[in-house]
Structure formats: C-alpha cells, structure tokens
C-alpha cells in the first residue's frame, strides 16, 4: 500500500493502481471519455489530466495511466487542468455538434458553447479507440481499427468493407461513450453501423424457442474458443437447463 494525497486528502491505494482508480474508489470524481475498466489505459481524451507533485517536480499527467506512488500530491482541480479540460471539450463540441453525451460532459465542465466552427459532416465519434481496444483486448478479434492518421483518422473496418473477422458481438456498440456506433436486430438480422461503414449479420434462432438470440458468427467463435459443441450453444439463455 502507498499513501499519498489527492486534493489535500490523504488516501491509501494499492501499488500499481492508477491515480484515477484510487480517486474513484475514494469518491473523487475525475472526468473521462476514453477510459473503461475492461481495457488498458490509453490516454487519448486528456480529460482526466491532473497535476502531480513528486518531490520537487510538478507535472501534468493523465490520471488514467499514471500510477500512484508514496508521497505524491495530486491536484485534480488546478487552474491548469481545468483549462485543459475545457479546451478539450470545446474542441470536441465542435467536432461532434450533434452528440448529446458530449454536450452533457461540456455542461458538467462549465462549457456551453464552442468558439470553433462546428464540423458539418461531424458524426459522434471522438476517436477514443474504446471500440477498437475492446475488440482487440476483450473480444480478441481486432475486426475494427483506427485507420489513417491525424485529422483524417477514423474508426473503420478494413477497406470500409464487410469484415470476416467481425463476429457481431456488439462490444464496440456497448462500450462507445458517445453512441457513435449503432446496432439493430430485426427479422433475424443484426445490423451494426460504424461511422463510415455498416454490415449485416445473420442471427441464430434458438433451437428450443425459435427466438433470434445471438449472431451465428459469435456462436461459432465461442464454440471454437471454448471447445463447447456448437449445438449446445445454439440454445438461448432462457431455454438453457
């Protein structure tokens, strides 16, 4: 265990824990957009920045990636970090003018308008890479990735085309913080729409009740990964013994 201070309050945390985790455990709120406990820290949105004083050295770091250390002093509300957060959200407001989630976060940070010209073709994607990281780190598929670089960057399937690798599990949809990825199940078909491409997948009807309950490809993937026979997986949760 290490002892350190956040906003003047002394707290204890496990070694190797991030400042953000320790703060959250102690009910100290630090805003984030690109953090999710199921994937590794990435440090892209910069909202979670805090000032850290270690000995004589003071620096501004992302609390999602910075590990706690004995004796450090963390300031989550310094003038500098407030400035960064407000500018970041103002930039994102202009990038995603239609996103309700961004507007709410902005409001929370005390920003109501943006001085920048809103992007006309702006979608809700903030390029936080949660979808691509979940697909790689949690699902183990890497069907989707961030392509191009800089201002041209986008989250897309290879060649913007249908991807063999996608098992239609929907993890990217659930993890997206701004609702930029949409999913719809209708008449035995699941459609996932990413900002720049979409793909349709067949759903499997439960062999007992006939309800379309899961994508075929996901069941095949689960069978292959777990070694369980595919037929056993083709029964929906409510029909399973």
């Amino acid at each position: 265990m290490v002892t350190f201070k956040i906003d003047g309050k002394e707290i204890k945390a496990k070694e190797g824990q991030t400042v953000l985790d320790a703060a959250t455990e102690n009910n100290i709120e630090i805003p984030t957009l690109c953090v999710n406990e199921s994937v590794l820290p990435y440090g892209a949105c910069r909202l979670c920045m805090v000032d850290v004083t270690k000995g004589k050295r003071k620096r501004t770091v992302t609390s999602c990636a910075y590990e706690v250390a004995e004796g450090i002093e963390v300031d989550t509300k310094s003038e500098k970090v407030i400035k960064i957060r407000r500018m970041v959200i103002e930039l994102l407001l202009a990038r995603c003018p239609e996103s309700e989630e961004i507007r709410q976060m902005a409001e929370k940070l005390g920003v109501t308008t943006t001085r920048f010209k809103p992007d006309e073709d702006g979608d809700a994607c903030i390029l936080c890479a949660l979808c691509t990281r979940a697909c790689r780190e949690v699902v183990g598929k890497s069907a989707i990735s961030l392509i191009n670089r800089g201002t041209e960057r986008e989250a897309a399937l290879p060649f913007y085309d249908e991807a063999d690798d996608c098992i239609a599990c929907g993890s990217c949809v659930y993890i997206c913080p701004t609702g930029a990825i949409k999913m719809e199940d209708k008449a035995g078909t699941r459609t996932i729409s990413w900002p720049n491409c979409s793909q349709e997948f067949k759903l499997k009807a439960c062999s007992a009740c006939g309800f379309y309950f899961a994508p075929e490809k996901q069941l095949e993937f689960m069978a292959a990964e777990s070694g369980v026979e595919l037929e056993k997986l083709e029964i929906c949760m409510s029909c399973r013994p």
Binding site: T132, R136, K141, S142, A143, I144, S145, L146, I147, N148, R149, L157, P158, F159, A163, D164, D165
Partner: protein
Amino acid sequence: MSELSAVKETISSILDRYDRDKSNLIAILQDVQAEYNYLPREAIAEVSQALDIPLSQVFSVATFFRAFSLKPRGRHSVHVCLGTACHVRGAASILQQMEKEMNVCCGDTTEDKKFTLEGVNCVGACALGPVVVVDGEYIGHVSVNKVKPLLENYD
C-alpha cells in the same frame, strides 16, 4: 497461374526475406509496394493471413504511413519537397504550378497514369531548394517557370 496465386507467391518470397517475422511488417509492406508500385488489396490480405496479424492491424499500418499507397500510382513519381527550407524559397508556388500542369491535386495520379504528384515533408537536400524528386532523382533550384519543361522530360 491465376492472379491470386501469383500474388501469394510474390508475397511469400518477400516474407521469406524477413523470416516471416511480424515485427518486420513495415519493411514487408515497403517491399510489397516496391513490387506493385502500390499496396493491392489482395496483397494486404495475404500478408495479414501469412503473418497471422489481423487484417485491421495491417490496414491501420498501411494507411498510417505516408510511404504507402492503396491506389495504383503513375509511371513517374513526382515529389515536391515542402520542407521549411524549400517553403521559404517558394515551394508552395511550385506545387501549385505542378497541380496546374498535371491537372491533378497533390496526392493524386494523372488520368493517363503518367505522374503521381505528392508533397513530401523535407527530403534533406535543403541547399538545392526548392527541390523536386522525380523517380528518385533530385532536381534542385526549381522555379515556377521550370515546371513545364521539367515535366516534358518524361514520357
């Protein structure tokens, strides 16, 4: 031999040069591009499969680095250096003139597939600025008025 198996064979020989080592992905793609003058989709898919790297990851790398092109390129590659030394000596006007003469935007290939025009962020030949590199040959002290005659040297 079918086109696809020809691609497989070419890729295979490139991969062998690098002991099929995943960490050489960028070098492998460079060699693929040198072979085809661009990165054909089938070749990217083949590299992904042979090295067991997800297609999306290979696609990310292929679209991140400027050296790679996913579109077929022209017979001659024209690189206009846009480094600072060339910029202060008027590189922007050279590029503008190139675009006018070729009737393409920077980054594109002419309709007759003769030229691919690209800007490059410094080729490190600053004393020659403004510099244009055509098919690897450095041409120094280019001026707006020299653009047309320069392009006429190529067929």
